[in-house]
Amino acid sequence: MSFDGFPPFISAQLHYLINHFPEKIKVTPPTHIPPSFFQIVHFNQRKYFGLELGDIIYNAEFPLAPPDIIFGPEDEDFHPLHMTGSVGEGDLKFGNILCDWNHKDPTRLLALIQELRDQYMAYQKKRVGEVDDDRLTFEISTICSREGIEMQISSGAEKPEEVKFAVPLMDMNINKMVHGCPWRHPQKIYLQVIYPVGKKYASTPSPPRLKLMSTTELGALFTIEDVKLPSWLDGMCMAEYLPHLEESLQKQVVESVSLIDIRRRFIESLTPLLGRPLEADPVFCRKATFLASSGSFVFLVHFLISTQFPKQQPAVMLQSSQHISPQGIPKKSPLLSEYPWSPRWEASQMAERILRVSLPSF
């Protein structure tokens, strides 16, 4: 990402932040620069399971000074410089980062954002703890000891008050399970649980809304959307629900790791027919491209292999290595993903069948 037009020390801080922040962070370049000399850097922090922090603003008149931070209207009560109680230490740290601001130090912005986020989480946790709802109080008491759990209360003029939890699942080091793992940060799976805030116990409390979420890069290994959540039975609580879910997820993650080598063997099985691939994904084995010929016609054969392989057949696309439109658009076949398939075929049989199906239609 280039930050043209920013002073170099601000660019350095932004680069450092993007490269070192433990989750994916998005920096949107300024969409407007009002005449009053402000250079605005919008930090759309990845919706941290519902937590979206505000805008970070560098003042073009005083670029050496620390940035200002603007929070959304819901967070009027968030005063990181004045937090009391159990976060006394953190409050000091946040203030220190701002007081000791050194514009030449590229790590400062990251430290600021991390501290800000920690403060914000603590603030939200405190707010949630103050909610007058017996069920919620009970739920919090059973799971608040889980490391890494986050919570947030959200309310608005038109919607009822809700409490959102992001519960980290499985104490698994998934990164270690993948040979040649390219992930810089640990990949995690979370369960988002959303409770409406009620004043007293209803006779049958409604089940919370549940959604599985994961860190982005995990998608190369495991498709979170394919997971079927166990049902939430009447009268259940999180302490009962989570162990079942975790056990099931653990099995699925282990299976997804074993599927990597199934995909690897499939790519390897294509080589007697198609030769060595031009390029193949060596870690997750999700794609491979080969070069083939038919007479004097030379073309690429792209294979896209889903995490559901071999249950789901690979998608195939052919691309000419000789034809290009005047606009510079290459000639490609449509992506072929529906064709007769059986996961029980041998790998070499799969290869032959795919080519038989894809070649005439090109």
Binding site: G275, R276, P282, S293, S296, P330, L355, L359
Partner: protein, 272 residues
């Protein structure tokens, strides 16, 4: 993984292939292919195009110069490479007496590739020499930047002269980037020395290349041969086999004998 710097000169590299032989994949290495779980990096690819007057010689297709075909081939290559992995990037330089930048910034944007390719134009006077030293210096400098971004740098040199042997001065310990070569030349005759030029290009490649570099040559002027060889250069350097063992593209369907007039399948126009 670095390949050893001493490679046998027999096989495809030692002498030029018989011309006109196509669609006939050699048996290739008998070793079974394995896809090892070793990370590969996205590439920064620097095209260096020879813009000497010889690049304006016509291909067998009337009205199409070598440079026209090269431009076309680069566009096809870039599109193919991006469809394999949209994270690969490209930059451009030209070679006359020495190398100089045409477009210095590496980018994966197809529009800017089209613009750079359009800007390629030949010199009117033939250079008496071809010094690759500056090219290697530029590449080494860029390679350090690429490495800092977890990328690898590759130079694809497209050379067009039939009698000018390129030369270079380079420390043998510096193998910071991969070098591939595509050599277009006239048919060998008493007034030229494409074999000697080819040998010099092989020397350069083996001298500087970090990973296994590939070199292809063609003297019969068919654009489709150029495209075929360029598509073989799509191979990712970190997943290559020795060139002598290369067995792609594999013929999938056996066809009847090709028409003899060397028609090609190029369908596009390039503005000169």
């Amino acid at each position: 993984m670095r390949m050893s710097s001493s490679r046998p000169k027999e096989g495809n590299r030692g002498k030029m292939k018989m011309e006109g032989v196509e669609g006939d994949a050699s048996a290739g290495g008998a070793v079974r292919y394995t896809l090892n779980p070793t990370r590969i990096s996205s590439e920064d690819i620097l095209f260096c195009v020879d813009v000497d007057a010889e690049s304006l010689l016509e291909m067998k297709t009337a009205g199409v110069t070598r440079l026209d075909s090269i431009k076309q081939a680069i566009l096809v290559f870039v599109n193919s490479k991006l469809s394999i992995n949209p994270d690969h990037r490209f930059a451009f330089a030209t070679l006359s007496k020495s190398a100089s930048w045409l477009r210095k910034e590496f980018s994966s944007d197809v529009e800017s590739t089209i613009a750079a390719v359009r800007a390629l134009s030949a010199t009117t006077v033939s250079s008496s020499q071809a010094d690759l030293t500056n090219l290697f210096r530029l590449a080494a400098h860029e390679a350090k930047k690429s490495r800092a971004q977890n990328r690898i740098l590759r130079v694809i040199l497209i050379y067009c002269r039939s009698s000018i042997r390129p030369h270079h001065q380079w420390s043998v310990n510096q193998k910071l980037f991969t070098l591939d070569v595509m050599y277009l030349h006239d048919k060998p005759g008493p007034d030229n020395c494409p074999q000697a030029v080819y040998d010099a290009l092989v020397d350069a490649l083996e001298h500087v290349s970090e990973y296994e570099g590939y070199i292809h040559e063609s003297g019969h002027g068919l654009p489709r041969t150029l495209f075929r060889f360029m598509s073989m250069l799509l191979c990712h350097p970190q997943q290559r086999c020795p060139q002598d063992d290369c067995d792609i593209p594999k013929p999938l369907v056996k066809k009847a004998a090709e028409p003899a007039n060397g028609e090609d399948n190029v369908h596009a126009s390039i503005s000169r």
